[in-house]
């Protein structure tokens, strides 16, 4: 009824965008983020007498900050973002350049972070949004009239941050960019044959990367292990196997919160970040994991709906970019823990521990809310 009331009010006072807020998206986002915080706690509390609360405290802080960011982003009319889109884009590329310079911090084989006091900033998370804004601004300007030259421009625009990210190297995040770009091209009415060609090029490019020396051997190992489960000797196969075992232990209802045997003994690597879905799977079972997926599906649906309702192409492109980002990250992060996607480090939106990803995700939802509530003006 609250929704209906909101609609009624909006009709009476269309000048107030807040009247057009999508509460379903907000509620689902907050629910998933809360679940994520709980899962981070379960994954990091350890099994000593005193629970380790360091991670969960930080994650809760990120969540609160994230909600703040979401509100701020939603407050500012997205068309202002359109005006400054290239500024964001340029800034993002500059920061991405800095991170591969000696200023950046290398960890787990990729130079992708800045160390800021106790926090680590991962600019590639924020630059996704910058790319979405920049690309949306450029594509919206062309109003669906995209020839080969323009496509080339758009590809250059998308290619610069992707190239910088491959320098880290971080293939997973780069693939997120590919998904974002393809989805936005699709909606921007890039002719079908170009899209097809781009897809082919993308696939060939991925294969090429795997056969080049851009990635380290173990990174390639991780990416390809899901294709060949018998590669059991490698550590990557072990990790993947542990991940699948852990999820399958969950059965219908799971071991119960904080009761996951595999989780609490930390058999799965990176279980608070990339592999956090294993915690959901083991401790909450199919019931919990499916609920989580359903919540994510609702979020995606609401974003898709926002895209469909958007009053201009820029807004629609932004929503589609965010939707592609979430969908790809979700499918990759969850699929990898279940052995149907290559193992690569991509955070699960709102679930994985990490400040950059949490803030970026909330900002992304903020953008969508922004577009959605300004669909009438």
């Amino acid at each position: 009824m609250a929704t209906a009331t909101a609609h009624d009010t909006s009709r009476r006072d269309p000048s107030s965008p807040w009247r057009h807020l999508d509460p379903v998206l907000v509620v689902c986002t907050l629910a998933v983020a809360a679940l994520g915080t709980l899962m981070v706690f379960s994954a990091t509390k350890g099994n000593g007498d005193a629970a380790d609360t360091e991670f969960v405290k930080k994650q809760a802080l990120f969540m609160v900050l994230g909600v703040g960011v979401m509100i701020v982003v939603a407050l500012i009319d997205y068309r202002r973002f359109q005006d400054y889109a290239y500024f964001f884009y340029g800034g993002a590329c500059f920061v991405l350049f800095l991170v591969v310079s000696p200023l950046g911090k290398s960890s787990k084989g990729a130079q992708a972070w800045f160390q800021l006091g106790p926090f680590q900033l991962q600019p590639s998370e924020f630059s996704k949004l910058a790319l979405i804004l920049g690309l949306a601004a450029m594509l919206a300007k062309w109003r669906g009239d995209i020839d080969l030259k323009r496509l080339g421009f758009a590809l250059l625009l998308a290619g610069l941050p992707m190239g910088l990210i491959m320098l880290q190297p971080d293939l997973g995040t780069a693939l997120v960019y590919v998904a974002i770009v393809l989805a936005m091209f699709c909606i921007a009415m890039v002719p079908g044959r170009y899209l097809l060609a781009l897809t082919v090029v993308g696939v060939l490019g991925t294969v090429g990367v795997l056969h080049s020396n851009v990635l380290k051997e173990y990174q390639k190992d991780r990416l390809t292990v899901f294709l060949d489960a018998n590669k059991a000797s490698s550590g990557a196969a072990y990790n993947l196997n542990q991940s699948i075992i852990t999820i399958s232990r969950g059965k219908l209802t799971g071991d119960g919160l904080f009761q996951g045997k595999q989780t609490q003994l930390r058999y799965v690597p990176e279980q608070q970040t990339d592999f956090i879905f294993t915690v959901v799977g083991e401790e909450l079972g199919f019931a919990g994991a499916a609920t989580f997926l359903a919540l994510m599906a609702v979020i995606i649906w609401r974003i898709w709906r926002a895209a469909a309702l958007a009053r201009d192409q820029f807004g629609q492109l932004v929503c589609v970019g965010v939707m592609a980002m979430f969908i790809f990250q979700l499918f990759e992060s969850v699929g990898m823990t279940m052995g149907i996607m290559p193992v690569t480090g991509i955070p699960l939106p709102f679930m994985s521990y990490g400040g950059s990803t949490t803030l970026a995700c909330f900002a992304a939802v903020g953008l969508v809310l922004n577009v959605h509530m300004r669909r009438f003006r």
Binding site: I187, I245, S248
Partner: protein, 782 residues
């Protein structure tokens, strides 16, 4: 349809999104709902670790329930070679140096080279932690545990290890335990492909009995290992214990050995060998006195009362694994020095004249002679153109059968051997047949690994043996059996070979009138910690087993018995001199001396005795390699044992002790000491000499300083005055006071009682001078 509409494209995007969700749901459903318990099993496999907890082995007890082998806990410092490999060279060297320093500081002197040697020792699997120091103090365990980061891959474990309260006593019977080898493990647990179910499972670092009773009764002694099931995290760190099955200790094994008799036997054997060492034998050869053995069995049932082999070893050296260097040092010398061989069952000797019993009995049963048949012994016997002699060509004159045994007339038996050959159509291989009836040529069946069966040569054997030789060693006609072979066989020489226990058992068979028992070392298997006198504690008893049986007519038995009795009593008996002073009234001794000739070396001295003749309970043999003729060296060993078991020498143990002390002193004076053996280990000879309640020293004898002060007080009255003491050797330190008889005597005045301090024997290391008060006390008090 308008394929170029954004709305359609958005729909396509939605469909793609929907498909992806569908895929995730489907996969999730498959993994969590459809899949079997595979995941659970795999998860349990990697999450749970079962740590085997070795069960304490059963104890080994003597016939009276006294402990020979039990267990103690030991703190063992181990290094995990796997973890060590991860260290850099300088870190590793530094760590080992610090470890060696800490070990040395805590009282376990250790060198880095020693640790390195252990680490490189091929006996250890590189997959298991290697023990580098044992019996470290608790403080070191705490120290190392607190500084685990400074000592990576170093661990201190609490282990249950074998403990030998009696030191090296009966070491050859007990045997030792050691880490299970890969072949032993495979035999017990099967291979990875074909695992065997074992109710007492072994792990690669389990201990297993390697020799002796430890090995033959492994299945009883081994306990059922406990299992601690722990949950480990992904790094292998133990997080919590989820299950604990406590280990079940192994069963105790009660031996037939009597610790006291065993000790006396071992001491007498050692004393005699060490006594003859470096002296010259009757035929002028240098006695080496390096090796020998002695066995005492009970003819009633074949039970082994004592079994000694010299040189011996200290089984505690094998606790936690003996180093390969030390092991090679033990077994690497001359064969005569190898202390790990149990010569009582694994030493092969020509039985020499002790075999004449068999020859004589064969001749009697085959009708060649009767119990009184005599022969003129001129010292020489000719077979064809070959001359066979008595020792020293000594002519015994007319010898009837009993005397032929008593004086050990070789000629008499040459004659019998020759007759067996000449009349072979009638009597066949009569000597060999009889020998087999007495147990020669086959193991006696004692429950020890390494028992040999010996050789009873006959024409078929000789031919086969010749054929087995390489062609260049096959002498012409060496495959044929000649009269000379029979003649040699008749006196226990030639190709005849027997183990000491075989000979003892043959004599037991004789006094049993043909009943031959399987020799036996184990009375019963008991529940862990069980009291042998409690029938409820008995897991199983081992009853005497008759291995074979034949009827021995009295007409054949009596003359032989007479001959054997004469050996220790007749004035011409070959062992009479050793039994002077031994009261045979209640403990008659049948005996037989023997000499096994070894080309170019001093003779092996053999004596076998059975007593008491009235109801034989002990068949004892002593075989002393390269130690002299006949019973010269072996006789006193058996004499000492009989002196003890007959109760005549309650002080025999003390005397042996005194000898050991004297020996020790002698060693200190520059005599060669056995380097590879543990003989008179200080502190291990704590035999309890009878406190002299009613001191046997009569007023009349208190004035004498002689050690045989009790000789005049025997209740039996059969004293042989003037004998130089009844001890194993008439040494200056012997003292054969007859304590038991003294119990019937009124207690003499307190002044004659020796003060307690002098009755407790001095430690073995005490020199004769410090012992002096013991012998002089009577004079002082008198």
């Amino acid at each position: 349809m308008d394929t170029e509409s954004p709305r359609l494209r958005l729909s396509i995007l939605g469909i793609v999104a929907f498909s992806l969700f569908a895929a995730l749901f489907a996969r999730l459903w498959f993994l969590q709902i459809m899949a079997t318990d595979q995941g659970e099993v795999e998860a349990a496999n990697n999450r749970l670790r079962v740590i085997q907890e070795e069960a304490p082995r059963g104890r080994i007890l003597d016939a009276k329930g006294r402990v020979l082998v039990d267990n103690r806990t030991s703190l063992v410092v181990t290094i995990d070679p796997h973890g060590l490999k991860d260290l850099k060279k300088d870190q590793r060297d530094d760590m080992l140096l610090r470890l060696a320093t800490e070990l040395t500081k805590s009282g376990v002197p250790t060198k880095v080279t020693g640790i390195e040697k252990r680490l490189g020792d091929p006996q250890y699997s590189p997959l298991q932690p290697i023990p580098v120091a044992i019996d470290v103090p608790e403080t070191l365990m705490v120290f190392l545990a607190e500084r685990a980061d400074d000592f990576p891959s170093v661990q201190v474990r609490r282990e249950t290890v074998r403990h030998y309260p009696e030191g090296s006593l009966a070491a050859h019977v007990e045997g030792y335990v050691g880490r299970i080898s890969s072949t032993e493990l495979e035999a017990r647990m099967g291979t990875k492909e074909e695992p065997k179910v074992n109710p007492k499972p072994y792990e690669p670092d389990s201990d297993v009995g390697k020799t002796g009773i430890e090995r033959t009764f492994e299945d009883d002694l081994r306990g059922i290992p406990g299992e601690i099931t722990v949950e480990v995290d992904s790094k292998g760190r133990v997080k919590n214990e989820v299950g604990h099955k406590h280990p079940v200790p192994g069963n105790d094994v009660q031996l037939t050995l009597d610790i006291d008799v065993q000790r006396v036997t071992e001491q007498n054997l050692a004393n005699e060998l060490e006594g003859v060492r470096g002296t010259y034998t009757r035929d002028g050869k240098l006695a080496q006195g390096k090796a020998g053995s002695s066995v005492v069995i009970d003819p009633h049932n074949g039970n082994v009362v004592a079994m000694a082999s010299y040189p011996t070893y200290d089984p505690s050296e094998f606790v936690n694994g003996i180093s390969t260097d030390r092991y090679n040092q033990l077994v690497g010398g001359e064969a005569a020095d190898n202390p790990l061989i149990n010569r009582a069952i694994g030493g092969l000797y020509a039985p020499g004249s002790t075999f004449k019993l068999v020859t004589a009995y064969a001749a009697l049963t085959k009708g060649l002679i009767t119990g009184s048949t005599g022969y003129q012994d001129n010292g020489v016997y000719n077979v064809g153109n070959r001359e066979f002699q008595n020792a020293g060509r000594f002519a015994h004159g007319w010898v009837p059968l009993p005397k032929a045994i008593t004086v050990s007339s070789d000629v008499y038996f040459y004659w019998l051997g020759d007759r067996f050959w000449k009349e072979r159509d009638k009597v066949g291989d009569g000597i060999q047949e009889t020998a087999r009836l007495f147990g020669y040529g086959q193991p006696t069946g004692v429950q020890l690994p390494g028992e040999l069966g010996g050789v009873v040569p006959d024409p078929a054997w000789k031919k086969q043996f010749w054929q087995s030789l390489p062609a260049d060693q096959q002498l012409k006609d060496g495959d044929k059996w000649y009269a000379g072979d029979n003649v040699n066989l008749a006196i226990g020489q030639g190709d005849l070979l027997a183990t000491p226990i075989q000979v003892a058992n043959a004599y037991a068979t004789f006094v049993n009138h043909g009943v031959r028992h399987q020799t036996n070392l184990v009375l019963r298997v008991l529940k862990p910690g069980g009291d042998p006198s409690d029938p409820g504690a008995v897991v199983r008893s081992i009853d005497p087993i008759v291995a074979s049986q034949f009827t021995m007519p009295d007409d054949d038995y009596t003359p032989l018995h007479t001959g054997l009795a004469g050996v220790t009593t007749d004035k011409d008996g070959t062992a009479t001199e050793f039994f002077k002073g031994f009261d045979q009234t209640n403990f008659g001794v049948l005996g037989k001396t023997g000499t096994a000739e070894v080309k170019g070396k001093a003779d092996t001295s053999i004596f076998v005795g059975v007593g008491p003749a009235q109801d034989p309970s002990y068949a004892a043999i002593a075989v002393l390699e390269q130690s002299g003729f006949g019973a010269d060296a072996a006789g006193p060993v058996v004499r000492g044992v009989f002196g003890y078991v007959s109760g005549q020498d309650q002080a025999a143990a003390c005397a042996a002790q005194a000898d050991a002390a004297a020996n020790q002193a002698k060693t200190a004076n520059g005599q060669p000491a056995p380097t590879t053996t543990t003989t008179a280990k200080p502190g291990s000879l704590t035999v309890t000499c009878p406190d002299p309640p009613p001191d046997p020293v009569a007023p009349s004898t208190t004035t004498t300083t002689s050690g045989k002060s009790g000789a005049g007080g025997g209740a039996g009255g059969g004293t042989t005055g003037g004998s130089p003491g009844g001890g194993p050797k008439g040494g200056a330190t012997t003292s054969t006071t007859r304590a038991p008889t003294a119990t019937t005597r009124p207690t003499t005045t307190p002044s004659t009682s020796r003060p307690p301090t002098t009755t407790t024997r001095a430690p073995a290391s005490t020199t004769p001078t410090t012992r002096a008060p013991t012998t002089t006390t009577p004079k002082k008090t008198g």
